[in-house]
């Protein structure tokens, strides 16, 4: 597959000829296949899934379930361990809520200072039960100091939840090390892989973590679906999270028994059309091959870091490496929002803010930053264009 031609598969760049999209970490644009799959499902095959025995519903259900299969293969997962939620945020809330039921006063959870709010706020809720939260620190470069994990673990440490790839710095946490330290102490581990899937190798069997969360809309799929990989052990041990249709076995006015398997965590009518279309997104990524995506995004990161660091007055958030698909920076003397507005005039989409990572930003002593993130559709011309825009920005703000 030629990555040069990939951009043609994204209709957004046909209707927005000048759009330069550097906000894939926020949400990826969608290839035609995905949009077509949605349309096709609604136009030709729509029925609610898992609830009726007539043919239309049976076929829709099979179509839906086959996405689970495709994802399973893609991340080398195990049959029956993939739960559909509404987004990565719900996936992480499910883990914190359900695991939280096992916790008592004084128990400890370990996160990192690099967490997205979605992997902190749900754990924060447990502070009501007087559960304590500790953070693996990040250093000046923005790296999660995994070597400090062991010293944070006590006999009260009950859970570890860490980010795989930072959505601000693009740096990768050494999750293999986290998992191996945790395993030795029999502490379950959850990985927030929202920025990792479709940007790096993710192999569940190799990682062997307890939970892994990500979102469809960040891997070129539709909005409205999250994925939670959870080990069967937890599927069995957890009480359900949401209650409703599809997750029950038997209901009467006194008692309720729950369905077994992933159904237990999939209450109500799901985003079925979106799940069906997600399959095309996963196939799209699989066809391009992760190794090609990695080399494409790394070469963009190298080129961009190189060019942008040549400007005066540039301040990176941590020390981004050329290995990631995301990095963040500021133009000293220009607030990120002002810079983003200037870029926007040139049709360049760059997110400005704290990117839902206030702890990281506070640690780095910055209020907000500009984030550049790459997808399969970006190219070097895009980077040349933003460099022109940075120049313009500096001119408007009278910087040298």
């Amino acid at each position: 597959m030629n990555l040069k031609d990939i951009k043609n598969q994204f209709p957004i760049f046909k209707s927005n000829k000048n759009l330069i999209y550097f906000d894939t970490a926020n949400s990826a644009q969608k290839p035609k296949q995905v949009i077509d799959a949605l349309e096709n499902f609604y136009k030709n095959h729509y029925a609610n899934i898992g609830r009726a025995v007539y043919g239309l519903a049976a076929r829709a259900t099979a179509d839906f379930e086959s996405t689970r299969e495709t994802i399973k293969e893609f991340v080398n997962g195990t049959e029956g361990e993939i739960v559909f939620t509404k987004n990565s945020t719900e996936s992480l809330n499910l883990v914190a809520h359900c695991f939280g039921k096992f916790l008592k006063e004084g128990d400890e959870i370990i996160l990192t200072e690099a967490e997205h709010h979605s992997n902190y706020v749900p754990w924060h809720f447990l502070r009501k039960k007087k559960v304590n939260i500790k953070f693996i620190p990040i250093n000046e470069d923005g790296e999660v100091e995994v070597n400090k994990l062991t010293s944070l673990i006590t006999n009260k440490t009950k859970f570890i939840s860490v980010i795989h790839i930072s959505n601000v710095t693009g740096l990768t946490t050494d999750i293999k090390k986290v998992i191996s330290i945790a395993k030795a102490k029999k502490i379950p581990v959850c990985i927030d892989g929202t920025q990792a899937v479709a940007h790096t190798y993710v192999d569940f069997k190799e990682l062997d973590c307890d939970f892994y969360a990500f979102s469809s809309h960040k891997i070129y799929g539709p909005t409205g679906i999250g994925i939670l990989y959870m080990k069967n052990k937890w599927i069995e041990q957890f009480e359900p999270f949401l209650g409703g249709g599809g997750m029950i076995q038997n209901v009467d006015t006194k008692n309720i028994t729950y369905a077994s398997g992933v159904s237990k965590f999939e209450a109500g009518s799901l985003a079925s059309a979106e799940v069906v279309a997600l399959k095309q997104a996963v196939k799209f990524v699989k066809d391009i091959k992760i190794k090609n995506i990695i080399s494409h995004e790394q070469s963009l990161a190298s080129y961009a870091l190189d060019k942008i660091s040549k400007f005066n007055d540039i301040e990176f958030v941590g020390s981004p490496s050329n290995k990631g698909s995301v990095f963040s920076f500021n133009i000293k003397g220009v607030h990120a929002h002002d810079a983003s507005t200037v870029f926007d005039e040139d049709d360049i989409a760059v997110r400005a803010g704290h990117h839902c990572c206030q702890i990281l930003h506070k640690k780095m002593k910055i209020g907000s930053s500009l984030r550049m993130s790459f997808g399969v559709y970006n190219n070097k011309q895009d980077i040349d264009a933003i460099c022109e825009s940075i120049k313009k920005c500096k001119k408007i703000f009278k910087l040298k």
């Binding site: 009726a52 043919g55 077994s260």
Partner: protein, 156 residues
Amino acid sequence: MDLTELYQDLILDHGKKPRNFGKCNKFNHDAEGHNPLCGDNIHVYLILDSEKKVKDISFEGSGCAISVASSSIMTEIVKGKSEKQARELLNLFFKMIKEGQEIKKVGLSEDEHIKFSSLAGVGRFPMRVKCATLSWHTLRAALDNEKKPINSEIID
């Protein structure tokens, strides 16, 4: 015509007048099965004697014609067979229904073979496969002393 093949007389008959219905006396193995989508419930009881032979087998429960007939036919066929044979039969049953495999006589009498094969047509109705397989899954669970109810929606 597919439908009349699915709902052939033999199946309708077993669906309406299930054989071996109820709890058999002194059963030493049992298991429960559910199909939450359809609301089919089944409880299989059996006696495995000292020679590992299914001395008696019965079932209780409710469900559609397919599920009741499948349970009824299963008990008729399995009764008197060895545990090993019973396990072979259930695997064959799944092969027949899910993979459309034609099943040779495999030690069944002519009559047993007709009954066994009468359910083959269910394979063409994907949403009904669970109805037909529930009793056989539950049989396996009973032989395995599985305490947790079987859920055919998950298995199939």
